[in-house]
């Protein structure tokens, strides 16, 4: 049963990821990202990370994708030129990515960690539940929590400064 769930989630995540980079319309790429994120949330559930899976669906598939859809609709279809500025880019890019995948796999499989070939230890009942994660955040990782909140605040202010400013009259004349 777990294997079936894993392979369904893995196929969804991988298919979504490939669709993101293969579809020409950015709007469809964003929709493919939703498929990827929801499948990944399913995989997180199999790994007993309930709170992370819920946050993934709420934060990513809910909020961030809405932002992407808004910007994709605002900017409109971005036409990518058919000619290649760098010769062989469409050939070399996947080749380099395949090399990266092989390298990462060798690094992971060659590390000979004893836990790699197991399903992990038996875990307690509340593993990954919101209450335990909240306790960790507010006790052991309080500084990281506060830093994350400051980072979010700075990013929100920065986005408003970047996107909300009207171009000065002298800049509007430039093409």
């Amino acid at each position: 049963m777990e294997e079936v769930a894993f392979f369904v989630g893995a196929i969804g995540a991988l298919g979504g990821a490939i669709a993101v980079i293969a579809l020409r319309n950015p709007f469809y790429s964003v929709l493919a990202l939703v498929v990827h994120l929801v499948s990944l949330a399913g995989l997180f559930l199999i790994l007993h990370a309930e709170f992370v899976a819920a946050a993934q669906v709420v934060v990513y598939a809910g909020a961030i994708v809405v932002l992407y859809v808004f910007v994709a609709a605002y900017v409109g279809g971005i036409e990518e030129p058919l000619w290649e500025p760098i010769p062989g880019q469409r050939l070399l890019g996947p080749l380099l990515a395949a090399a990266l995948f092989i390298e990462l796999s060798i690094a992971v499989l060659g590390s000979a960690l004893s836990s790699l070939d197991s399903q992990g230890p038996t875990i307690a009942l509340g593993f990954g539940s919101p209450s335990t994660i909240g306790e960790l955040f507010l006790e052991r990782f309080l500084i990281a929590f506060e830093a994350a909140s400051m980072l979010l605040l700075i990013a929100a202010v920065g986005a408003v400064v970047l996107a909300g400013r009207r171009a000065a009259p002298s800049e509007q004349e430039q093409p």
């Binding site: 980079i21 995989l43 990515a97 197991s118 399903q119 960790l136 990782f141 920065g158 800049e171």
Partner: protein
Amino acid sequence: MDITWYLVLSALLFATGAAGVLIRRSPLVILLCLELMLNAGNLALLAFGRANGDQDAQVFALVVMVVAACEVVVGLGLIVAMYRRRLPLNVDDMRSLRG
């Protein structure tokens, strides 16, 4: 399922995202590919956390999610600013740091 499966899937997703960054030229799609790579990292973190029976990895994954959200907000703000100034939305044309 063995933890190895999750790690190999994570490497595959990361390589897919890297391929997207290399071959696509629209900044919006490049941001999407960065999301793919960050999520692959999250999957590896959670898999390692499950392998060790440790919940700290989930806290790390949540912090990574926060960083990804910030990156998206700033990146989309940049794209909107580029669009308003009628700059070409193509990373190959945006070579100089002069606005």
